[in-house]
Structures are given as structure tokens and as C-alpha cells.
Symmetry: C2
Subunit: 213 residues, 2 copies
């Protein structure tokens, strides 16, 4: 096995998706959701996501419409922000933001005795235009989003609820699954910033054809 | 379930590690490796990492010595770079770098017909001081590191070899497992930028006590 001659990244990805499809052994998903499930498996090599990912009815189309209109994607970690394909998002007139590292957010969270994720979600709720939330880490972000939506302070185009973990994570996701808001949730403990970014990218790549990469 | 009153992040993490220890049902790992295995499970909620992670003899101690002396951590993605605790690394006099987004790296890769990861690793090999490589994405990075080490151009303190994927990934890891270089490898298809960052952080947090976070 040599580093040269090498296979191009787009060719590697095509081969990878063919192997994933093969390993899914005939399991099929609705158009739009299929690309998301497979990209998450591509990102994690974890086939449990074929079972875990729950899509609310119409969520994928609603999110794609918002992204096509230049939506803002809000993340709860710098890792998820780093993983989102910004060139693709920007071609659609959108942007990605994360307020977690903002010193004012940290100071307000400390003063109020809440998490930085809570303050970050409140700040994001005030942004103009269509909003998509990509939550890969903090269950408190998901809980605060639910409250803001119920209060009528926020009406997101999509909430990607894939925090990972062992404390309050499963419960926060189960609560959110009962909401009317468009969502994509990874049921159970699994998820992560990489999964959140992969879901955003799987939506973007349905809208913008990439070449070579 | 309310967002207030909330449990502090350090308390949540402590509870999470206790749950992980409990779910590992008496399985134990050598000191130093234990913290790494558990932090990777904390990051992924995937207990397969209790089986997958392979440590070369002495790798953890060698890496901790290098980090204590201000090593540079080289990643193969912006996501892994974003996930590493830079404040902790900087307290030890170290830094983290990633050359993947450098336009010169992209241009050279295109001209030579190799991946950007290959060129990034060559560039990193020329850095001064102790080097730790955290590879969460590109099998070609791992293959090129192996060549550079064999050529005598590089002698890293640690190679974290946890690329994820379906094409060339398993093979690149199996080749690296035969090397004498200190390594931590996630055997099989699984891994990722989040896993790479978690391993670096698990080493750092053994050296620097965090408070509150």
C-alpha cells in the first residue's frame, strides 16, 4: 500500500458510499434522509445510526428550503462549526456561527448560573432570517431551544439534536421528539459534533454539487 | 427536566465517567490508558473503543513526557484542531497546528498528484521540537508518516492513528501497528476527528488539572 498513485477524494467517497449501501443490505430510507443516514455512517463507521436517527415529517425538505434561501446554521461547539462545509454554505448565501467561545456568553452564564450553551441558544434566537440548529454536545442547548420555541421566541427551520453522552442526554432528546418543530434526532446516547456537522453537510451536498474536492 | 438549576460541567463529566466505569463492568486498563479509553467512550458513547484501541508499549508515558516538554500536536483536520483543548496545551508550552487548509499545501498536492494530507505530513515533519500526530481522517496521512519515519526523516513522540472509513483505512492502520513508533491506533473502520481530539485531551488532562470548566 503506497501513498502514490493515489485515488482522488471524490472517488474514495463514492466507493465508501457504495460499501455503506452494500453493508446496509437492502435497507432503504426515504429520499433526502438516505443521504443523511449514509453520511453519518461514513463519518462514524457506526451502523447504529441507521436505527437511531429519527426524522420529523418533512424536516429534510423544510431544512433544504431554508438552506437554499441562505439560512444561518448555529452550532454548540467549535468542532461542529469547523466540520461544516463553509464554502458550500456560503455559495447558498448562508453562514455558520457558534457563540460558545464568546467571553460575554461565558460571563453571563456564570452570573446567571446556567450553561454557556443556554446563553448561546438565547443569543442565536435573536438572529435574523431562517435558523438551523446543529447541537452535537450540550443537552442544555436542546432543552433551552425547546423552551424558546414553546415561548414563541423561536421558530427554527430545523433542530439537529445529536448531543452525545451519559447524563441528561437521552432524556433531553426524548422530550424533544414530542415537539412539532422540524427535527433530526439521534435517539439514545450517541451523537457528537462530528455527527451534527455531517448532517448539515449531507443537507448542503443535496443542494450544491461538489466537484473533485 | 429544566435548564435551571443546572449541574456544573465538571460534575456532569465526573458522573459520566462513573457511569462509563460501571458499564465497563469490571474491565480494567493500565493506568494512563484507562483515562484515554474512557474519554473516547465519553466522546462517542461507543463501547467498541474498549476493544479497538491498541497502545504500543510505553506510548502513553512517552507522549506525556513530550507534552510536558511543550510538544507540538499536528492534526489532519480543522475539526480535530478545534477539539483539542488549546488552553491546556498552551499551559504546558505546546501548540496545535493543521496545514490542511493552507492554499500552498493544496496547490502542491494538486501539482504532485497526492493528497493534501500527504503534503501536510511532510510539512509537519520539518517542525522543530517534539511532535505528536493526531490523525482522525486521512489514511494517506498515516501511510506518509510511516514512510517518513522509515526514511529517518521523522521520529514522533506519538502517532494517534484513528482515521475513520471504508477505503484503505483498515489496511493503513494494520500496517502501522507493525511499526516501532509509539502509537495509539483504533483498529478497524472506526475513529474520527473527535476521537483524535479526545485522545490528545485525555493525555493533557493527566498532566494539567482543570477546575470548574
Amino acid at each position: 500500500m503506497e501513498t502514490k498513485p493515489y485515488t482522488k477524494p471524490d472517488e474514495i467517497e463514492k466507493q465508501s458510499f457504495a460499501i455503506i449501501t452494500d453493508l446496509l443490505a437492502g435497507r432503504s430510507f426515504p429520499a433526502g434522509e438516505d443521504e443523511i443516514v449514509k453520511r453519518v455512517i461514513h463519518t462514524t463507521a457506526d451502523f447504529e445510526y441507521a436505527e437511531n436517527l429519527i426524522f420529523s415529517p418533512g424536516a429534510v425538505n423544510r431544512a433544504k428550503e431554508a438552506l437554499a434561501a441562505g439560512a444561518t446554521v448555529v452550532t454548540d461547539t467549535g468542532m461542529a462549526l469547523a466540520g461544516i462545509s463553509k464554502p458550500t454554505l456560503e455559495r447558498l448565501g448562508g453562514q455558520a456561527v457558534c457563540f460558545m467561545a464568546d467571553p460575554e456568553v461565558a460571563a453571563e452564564a456564570k452570573a446567571r448560573g446556567v450553561t454557556r450553551a443556554v446563553v448561546s441558544m438565547e443569543r442565536a434566537a435573536g438572529l435574523p432570517g431562517e435558523l438551523i440548529f446543529a447541537i452535537g454536545n450540550a443537552p442544555t442547548a436542546l432543552l433551552r431551544l425547546r423552551e424558546l420555541i414553546r415561548e414563541g421566541a423561536l421558530s427554527p427551520a430545523l433542530v439537529i439534536g445529536v448531543p452525545v453522552g451519559f447524563v441528561n442526554v437521552v432524556e433531553a432528546k426524548e422530550l424533544f421528539l414530542r415537539e412539532e418543530t422540524p427535527y433530526i434526532i439521534a435517539r439514545g446516547r450517541k451523537g457528537g459534533s462530528n455527527v451534527a456537522a455531517a448532517i448539515v453537510n449531507a443537507l448542503l451536498y443535496q443542494l450544491v454539487k461538489r466537484e473533485g474536492f
